[in-house]
């Protein structure tokens, strides 16, 4: 069960993505969740995120030609998806 005081996975993902994309993060992530998973962004689960990683990777690769930055970002997204600690 999600604790109302704990940030949900979507919020964590936005916070992480914000570092790389700035305020475009919300639009970037919510559109991928809505289009590829057909669900509301806030309902994102860790399994969903694992499914989404390939799409996030190809899309972010069109926003920068710096592969290191892409890999660094994707590694952090993967860590977020694999983490077992909290949230949904």
């Amino acid at each position: 069960m999600t604790n109302s005081h704990q940030p949900i996975l979507y919020d964590k993902l936005i916070r992480l993505t914000h570092v790389y994309l700035g305020p475009a993060a919300d639009r970037f992530i919510s559109r991928q969740i809505q289009n590829h998973l057909n669900k509301e962004p806030r309902d994102l689960t860790r399994e969903d995120l694992l499914q989404l990683i390939d799409w996030i990777r190809v899309t972010v690769s069109l926003l920068t030609d710096d592969n290191e930055v892409v890999e660094e970002y994707i590694a952090q997204v993967r860590n977020l998806a694999m983490a077992q600690d909290e949230g949904n």
Binding site: H18, V19, Y20, L21, G22, P23, A24, D26, R27, F28, R31, Q32, N35, H36, D54, W55, R57, V58, T59, V60, S61, L62, L63, T64, D65, D66, N67, V69, V70
Partner: protein, 383 residues
């Protein structure tokens, strides 16, 4: 022996695939999962004026710069290829590519993600030169603009003198004459609205509408528009409501006039296409980075088979044409163009005989301000 045969077959298959790719009549560019160009056909090379070695292996968004119709470099997140990955669907668009000599080339694009077992491997983009179509379109827009301006002058005279006649400035008139004059005034009003729509569309298409953003409260603007349309709604006994849902400020930095035009079109459409005694409910929902506005009607709805055409120019749904003969099919086309200018997006849900909800979001700050303070400046990279 078997291995050799399979190698020959595989090399023949590759040669065949290459021949097919090179024979495509439009420009064709394929990219890998990192956006680097893996294939380019002779038509693309000719259109962009590059050699094959200059393009292969290059990062597509950087070497082939995309610009909007008004000449502004397209934000990378808005490029068709990025949108194709964001949605997982083919994307069609018209824009300009910058050729090697720096000149803009107007192109019509179709781009699709390449999938293998559902996994994205890259993208394939087809594009064609639309210089001639653009020129014809520009001439058509110029003509509409000129004709519209010329039509306005005599219309003003008709309207002014009709009002003077109705108000008795030119002597007493009979009730029948008064009724006829009201019909003339109402017809000139409709004509004026049509001219305004046509002029706005030509301005959008020529990229000459510039937004003047200022901080405003979205719910206040909705209130103003609902007030202006109150008579129209009352004529059909249609109830209207406004609700601000959730917490947070409804303030955004956007263009007041453009927002009013969008709301006026969507709400008046709702009234027009809702039977007597129905409802129009407007909801304003503040979110973190944007404000979401929904207009729900209890109208006739949009048939499923034409829902993908609803934002096209001059399109009118068949169930509506039967009931309302006066529409132009330009309203939603205009609305989408105006929302684009404000950096927002629009979508809808509709069911026949149940009603329609149009929803649009407007960013709190315009899109081109989105890129500040990002670590890698990803959103800031232009083309």
């Amino acid at each position: 022996m078997a291995k050799r045969t399979s190698e020959v077959l595989s090399s023949e298959k590759r040669a065949e695939a290459n021949a097919i790719f090179n024979s495509i009549g439009d420009g064709a560019i394929a990219t890998d999962e990192f956006g680097r160009i893996t294939r380019v056909n002779p038509v693309a090379l000719k259109l962009l004026q590059y050699t094959e070695s200059e393009l292969l292996g290059e990062w597509f968004p950087k070497i082939v710069v995309a610009m909007e119709l008004n000449g502004k470099v397209l934000n990378l997140i808005d490029r068709p290829i990025t949108r194709a990955f964001l949605t997982g669907q083919p994307v069609a668009a018209k824009l300009f590519y910058r050729r090697k000599d720096g000149q803009p080339l107007p192109v019509s694009i179709n781009v699709s993600p390449i999938l293998l077992n559902g996994k994205p491997l890259g993208a394939i983009e087809l594009f064609r030169d639309i210089t001639v179509e653009e020129e014809i379109d520009r001439m058509k827009s110029e003509f509409i603009s000129l004709a519209s301006h010329q039509l306005r002058t005599p219309l003003s005279a008709i309207k002014t003198y009709s009002h003077m006649l109705v108000d008795g400035y030119m002597g007493k008139i009979t009730p029948t004459q008064k009724k006829a004059l009201h019909t003339i005034i109402s017809a000139t009003n409709r004509m004026n609205e049509l001219i305004s729509t046509l002029l706005n569309i030509t301005r959008i298409e020529s990229g000459s509408i510039a937004a003047t953003p200022k901080v405003l409260k979205v719910d206040r603007v909705v209130e103003e528009v609902l007030k202006e349309l109150a008579l129209m709604a009352a004529d059909k006994s249609i109830a209207t409501s406004l609700k601000v849902s959730g917490k947070g400020s409804t303030s955004i930095k956007t263009d007041n006039l453009i927002l009013k035009e969008i709301l006026t079109n969507l709400i008046s459409n709702g009234i027009k296409y809702t039977p007597e005694g129905g409802r129009i409910d407007v909801t304003v929902k503040p979110r973190l980075a944007d404000v979401l506005i929904s207009i729900t009607d209890t109208g006739w709805g949009i048939p499923k088979d034409v829902q993908n055409q609803i934002f096209s120019k001059f399109f009118r749904a068949h169930n509506i044409v039967r009931r309302e003969t006066t529409g132009t099919g330009l309203g939603l086309y205009l609305v989408r163009g105006l929302i684009d200018i404000l950096g927002g997006r629009i979508w809808f849900k509709s069911a026949e005989q149940a009603g329609t909800t149009f929803t649009f979001v407007l960013p709190r700050n315009k899109v081109f301000d989105e890129t500040k303070e990002s670590k890698a400046g990803l959103g800031a990279i232009k083309g």
